[in-house]
Symmetry: C2
Subunit: 144 residues, 2 copies
DNA sequence: AGTTGCCCTAGAGTAGAGTCTAGGGTTTAT
DNA sequence: ATAAACCCTAGACTCTACTCTAGGGCAACT
């Protein structure tokens, strides 16, 4: 009916070390201990843990995740706070996506250059330009 | 005709510390020094630096960026290596985007729950379920 | 000649997120 | 009743990527 830490590690892909670390960081206050002092994860705990992973995977810091979990532990009265926190995070994710999108385009532009049939010529040109610029500014040539 | 480190910092949004750090890490072997030993960034250098930022912004580690820059310094003969490296990175970016996409959906699901008119009821239900699970497994209740 | 505002290096310090070790208890199978 | 395979904590260590400090040089103005 409950899961030991090893099983949870296998289910989530987190290491046992990481799970204990998260607990130490106050991310798992909802995980109870059995009579031997072992962590006993319920299905509900796994759901919350999945939420934690979801926030982590989208770049939320542990301190902020702790805050969110704190709100969850506080019960339904903290719904406005949870909303505010998640909404702000949602925007952070959107910014992150936009940044990656932009930079991915740039990488694709580079790749297109290298994939071009005359890639060697283009790269040669770039290099020649860079060298010329160094010379024009009386700077040592760092290339070659 | 060339830019001092402070100007480059302003242009790129990187701190002066970070620029020097990148240089120390071997990311800026193409930046020459003037007669006083000061870094003198040319336009071409700024382009390369922009590429570095682009790789960094998409999660490439400094060690890998250094490798890429090493290929660039080696001239046109390293085009196949550059292609391979960027292609692999392109795939890493795609995986990253997919992960964020998936987790963003999850966040949106949570937000939808909190935005629902009966949010308090739903959250109450979840909580009741979680508590029941603890009791069913003879575990102490961590909530409240 | 002195102050201001840049620039430099070396190296120490910080922050975040783990990862691992030592020392010790528990449960299960042999 | 002992080994194997788990579990626990405290705390040290690692890695990455900065960030800052100390100590000192150069260039321009006053």
């Amino acid at each position: 009916m409950t899961y030991a830490i090893k099983e949870v590690a296998e289910k989530t892909g987190l290491s046992i070390y990481t799970l204990r670390f998260y607990d130490k960081q106050g991310l798992l206050p909802f995980v109870s201990r059995d009579s031997s002092g072992y962590r006993a994860f319920t299905e509900g705990d796994l759901h919350l843990l999945k939420t934690i992973c979801c926030l982590k995977n989208t770049g939320m810091k542990i301190a902020d995740i702790r805050q969110y979990i704190g709100y969850v532990m506080a019960g339904p009265t903290s719904i406005p706070q949870r909303q505010a926190l998640l909404h702000a995070h949602r925007q952070a994710i959107a910014r992150q996506q936009a940044l990656i999108q932009t930079n991915l385009k740039e990488v694709d532009r580079k790749l297109a250059l290298y994939d071009a049939p005359n890639a060697a010529d283009l790269v040669d040109q770039e290099l020649a330009f860079a060298k010329a610029e160094k010379i024009a500014n009386h700077l040592p040539n760092p290339f070659n």
